[in-house]
Point group: none
């Protein structure tokens, strides 16, 4: 009898950086995953809560930061969430009510620093852990701090029942963290089976990395990218790239094009990639495909060379 | 003034496991790379010298080995080459006469064990190093030993002139070794720029791994796969998979379909992928693309998290 | 007063790869060793729990793996046991109830990789350690990973009483590991006295290796081989070698013929070799025979040449 | 076309410890190997030149040495040979005239110490090396010193012709040295193919060790044991063990019973074991059997675990 | 004010190879050294604990070992002590209670091999180190292994008080080790001041070696020899040398005649040599005599020729 | 048939530091050895030619040297001999005429430096080598330089005939050089059999060192000491120690008392020690005693521990 989990990824964006509206959106999409598709799990994109300030500079140049940029940061800071906080409670409620396990990209505020974080929310236990992005890319380094080894959880969730358990381990890797071979190796070594990859990278070649990871790690990859248009941003977030080809501000202009996808441990595309639209993608994940795949490739088991390569990980609280 | 190396990958197979004929083929293809395409470097596939016994079982089942399988191994063993040996000298002569740097997959014999090896042959210095595949895949484990940390060279070659040096570092990663994240990380850490990937994996999804590596490592990827038909195998290498769909032995039957490709450090396909034919692919490699790519992604530099992940490598003689 | 341990080896096989039935069999044979023969120790063969898929190919040929082979692996994977797990608890109960120390070959599941493992189970302390086979042989390399230096325990067990201690050190070496001279030397250096050798090698020449090891290591050798017939395998484990000489599927066909034996430190055969039957072999082991033997041969003591040969062992957690 | 060497072992003893008569015997037996059997190689037993003083005590007890024992040693010392010396020249002449490569056990004198040595004598190059026994056994420690890492040669000999080379590597391991696992491992690592084992151990269980080594090392084993009767010893070598069962000095009494044998790399007995007679044993050695055997077992190649076990050898001059 | 240590050597033997009785004897003699003579240090002979099986052959002749010899070895093996063990604890108690530093010859059991060892036991710190005899003599090679460079300690002991320290360095050299010039040189180079020489050599010429060493090393020599009669051996240790001149077993027959002695760094005999009796010898050792002696002779200092002779010592753990 | 050399040591002193008279004395004593005792070899004491300026200070104090001392040195310098020189020729003539091999202590002049040297003079080949004392003792350091590794010869001399060779190796060690364990070890390693020890040390305890060396090296020791009275010194060599007990200059006063001795390899005194007289001592040296002795002790062969102690010698021209 097949051991199958039904899982979704939501391709969507922040609602004009408004926390409440975005939480409403999260609830709505979670219900789509559940009611329409029968999902038990739903992954949301990077920075879904808090927002991804695409194309902003925050007024920074080498050697100087404009005051307007400081103001922009103050606004962005105010829109982030603490953990725990009412926003987390709201997500817990959504999960509890729908029975859908949530993996959600958020902007986390901790003291004076923001982090690009993913939270894991269980229908029964509520919030159970978070991962902070280890290394921001490019100008993200102006606004986000770096996570560390204390937030690399690989929680195990039983998606089955007492009579028929269906346990699976999950992890979260955000955007270009997916290029970090040592982080991936660590997650593989912890036994991740549902490799969640929230992102805002909508380049076509991103697909090759997602497919490669499924094959390399012999795990399911659930890649959730934002789909965002100019109109999805707050008004004060005006940049020249919002212009149409004719140079006119164009609210329909696509800012982040999507590309969400679900892939099997043998590299087979199960759903997506979805481009240029907001939607929920869903697929059946046959957990036995992992053993089928590890038969000839287990980079942290029979295919490792521990005598040649030794990876030490400083992950004290995980 | 652009700093460009012209480089090729040869998509071809062993000539019926005949050493001399295969060396002739190597010379012929090298001359194509040089005379037709003006190349300075040519990468040949995995096991090009010695042969890849596709679909053989060597008489092995769990718990037993048939005597015929031992005989098959003894023939395969006899067809392999020592390093050094006259076969290496012949490659040195080809390289010297054509001026083309060669990266060639060979089956290496060392004592009682065979290794799937890649040799580096310089037009001036001759043989300068080798890489032994670290972990054979599936049934390869029956016939090949495991390399270790002593054969992970990253040689540097000056493809320019005294007035205008054009140095580049090279590495070799064979077939599913390309799935080993720690091996790749090691090569990145040693500064590989021309990431050579000889293989016999002709699945379409192999392309995603090649493209991913270029993006992850910010290096040129030169992937050389075999193209082999049933008629390219020795007569005694008969297997049921040589049959046509009608069940008749079909000498034209494609055994390994190719898929050779050359990719830039930003993931752009420069040549190929070539399928279902023997040929030489060539591209211009602009070395400055590497710095362009490392600007925002250097997984062994500014994008690493050495405080969280530490990779120790036991590579004593490299 | 002689210092004697009574010890057994069980020659038997897995019950159609069924975990519960095989554990029942383990209990039954342990009770035979105890009730009929008065044994304090019983060694079971390689892969007794989990099964030895004799003559399977798992659909692997050089360069390819059939999907049916992946399915077979997934079934085999599901039949393996974690450590700890209820199966281990069951063995602990059998040992506790009978007072017999158990040395049992199992197929261990750890993440995506299977290992050919031996567990040591003490009547009082329960599970106390395991050894993972270091190097699978032939097609075993397709299904089992490699153990390493962290699972080379040499536990000491007191088979006597508080008033009259009777301590002995034990080790486990699985099948062709017995050909690894450096592994054996390591065990000798750790003082192994009861050298347990679970195997599925039933060739007559295996006896010479068992006798040689007793003489080389001046230790008792307890070699337990499987005895298995075609009918002992699950129905889906069908292979052409199950056929009778007339080419008809023959449930009585002997798949693994046994050859279990117990040998003294001076090379004397104490029990067996037993062939072509399931049974328990028992012998009295006079511990003073070890000193009698080491008198003129101690390859890790007075007969070593540490100035010429130095063995370094990477066994960090042992 | 098969690659076959014809090789012999001579089962014989020293002629009353007389150097000249023993050299005559060596010549006679070498001619038998050549003229009768067509051999290219002949192995002679341990201490063939110089003699094995079976059952002597040399007057030693713990804490004392009798003067008569010192005299016995002085005689034994005088009967040993230097290297080089006229005795070596004589062996070179025998080898040159017959074309038979000789591997001969001798007692070597070097300064004040005797060594149990084996010399390699080539028909063309003459004496090419020697091995000194590393660890004398039991009372041998009273009369022989210990060799060291400087005399562990593994010479390669071409038994073929310029048109058709037939190279093979040889080693010598004397008597209970064959129980030293690290010495054997070293020889395997150097590629020994003709593993010569001169001995005086005539116990039946010695056969298991010879067969085991062939299987472990995947090499041909050429075991040459002495056959000696009381009458073969000098008159002053009188010991109570020379007596018949009736207690009468019995010149026919068997002192060393033989057991010479030739075994293939897969453990097959090719000639012998010969007991209770002097003779020459001969067999055809198919060198391709080594590759057939290494297919599934190469303890210094694909079957080694260099990450777990590292053998360092102090063999400076080899 | 003179810097004087009062030191003793005990001339005695093992009590019929009985461990407990011999430990009682050790305690009794230590109390004599302390109560009668006021000693701070007491040296006991070679093999005092465990016994010296004078005149035994252990059934060994060249090429054979009798079974009765193996039994004898097994008994001797059983009588030896592990380190640590209750016997060591008993010595620690004796030292602690009497305040006498002990240097005691023991037979040490380690795995399958026995060593002729000397232990250093401090009144406060207990057991602090051991030296294993490097090279057994004659028939000792049948029963004892060889120590190595890891057990060459030169511990320093303060025989004074906090207000008035009186530190001295000690070493142990057993019996004919005293003939090893390189070992002695090593000890001199480590600064030994109290050169302890436990032995069983009772020849008169032994005195010359003891005196020579004091002069050569400019150190105090404390030579402790056994005094043993036939009656001191276990009954099963019967040898023909136990006979009186009339050929009758004579329990009074002297087996080891003693010769213990204490000598100053300038070769002056301070106490002894004592022959043909059991007793304790005591002398005052004026530490300043060492400097007096080194004024004109320091073979590891101003009298060395390091440009001509270089001694390398492999003593890793010392 | 015994292999015996007859050898002598001459106990005598320099004739008032007169070269010619001393050479006359050398001839006279050599003829005594030959004509009276039938010797083939004669050893003369340290500084026999040139003189040993017993009790001189050469006017040296710390920080100053008196002019009279410089004059004394000039005289002493003038009395020394060059090598070669007429004095050497004279010795060659004596040796040739008598057939006695000479080992003679001389004061050698080389440029501005004097050395305490021993020369070897062969009846047939004449002067064949020399040894310079490596380390002068005490005030000798004011007048003699240090030899080095280039003058450590161990010449071999055939004392037999063409039909019956009787080869023996010799060495020379001067006075307290005999305390240098590494120098002795080197000589042993070179195979010295006739260990010549010219000296001026007449203390009784010197005997223990001579006896020890014979036992340690298993060689014959030929110790030749001067016997000198006050009258044997030149008149200008006046010192207060020349006085009788009554304080009157006493020409009979014994300045160096002798103690020459010849000892066998097993420590047996063969001749001497001779005290308080000038004479020649002679003994028969049975060369087979060396093998008898090395039977149980060969500190550079079977009794060495080359794995623990390695002696490197810088002896380039020897």
């Amino acid at each position: 009898m097949a051991r199958i989990i039904r899982a979704s990824v939501a391709q969507a964006c922040t609602a004009k950086f408004s926390l409440n509206e975005t939480l409403d959106k999260l609830e709505r999409l979670t219900r789509v995953a559940r009611d329409r598709d029968g999902s038990q799990l739903c992954v949301f994109p990077e920075a879904f809560i808090g927002g991804y300030p695409k194309n902003s500079t925050f007024g920074a140049v080498v050697g100087d930061r404009a005051l307007a940029g400081r103001d922009e940061f103050a606004r962005y800071y105010a829109a982030a969430i603490d953990i725990p906080s009412p926003a987390i409670s709201r997500m817990e409620a959504v999960s509890r009510e729908t029975g859908v396990f949530l993996v959600v990209g958020v902007i986390e505020r901790d003291g004076g620093t923001l982090y690009c974080t993913v939270v894991f929310v269980d229908p029964v236990e509520g919030y159970i852990g978070k991962h902070r992005k280890l290394m921001p890319t490019g100008s993200e380094r102006l606004i986000w701090g770096q996570g560390d080894g204390s937030t690399l959880p690989v929680p195990e969730k039983d998606f089955g029942s007492a009579e028929r358990p269906l346990k699976a381990k999950m992890s979260a890797t955000i955007c270009w963290e997916n290029y970090m071979p040592l982080l991936r190796t660590y997650y593989y070594s912890q036994g991740t089976q549902l490799y969640c990859a929230p992102t805002v990278d909508a380049r076509p070649e991103w697909q090759s990395t997602m497919q490669h990871i499924a094959l390399e790690g012999r795990c399911f990859v659930l890649a959730a990218c934002q789909f965002a248009q100019a109109k999805d941003y707050p008004d004060e977030h005006f940049t020249t790239t919002n212009l149409s080809n004719e140079g006119i501000p164009d609210p329909e202009k696509v800012m982040i094009a999507g590309g969400s996808v679900i892939i099997s441990p043998l590299g087979k595309i199960l759903a997506g990639p979805l481009r240029d639209a907001e939607d929920v993608l869903t697929a059946d994940l046959d957990l036995d495909d992992i053993a089928r795949g590890k038969f000839d490739m287990d980079v942290v088991g029979h295919y490792a060379r521990n005598d040649v390569f030794k990876l030490s990980v400083n992950a004290p609280h995980t």
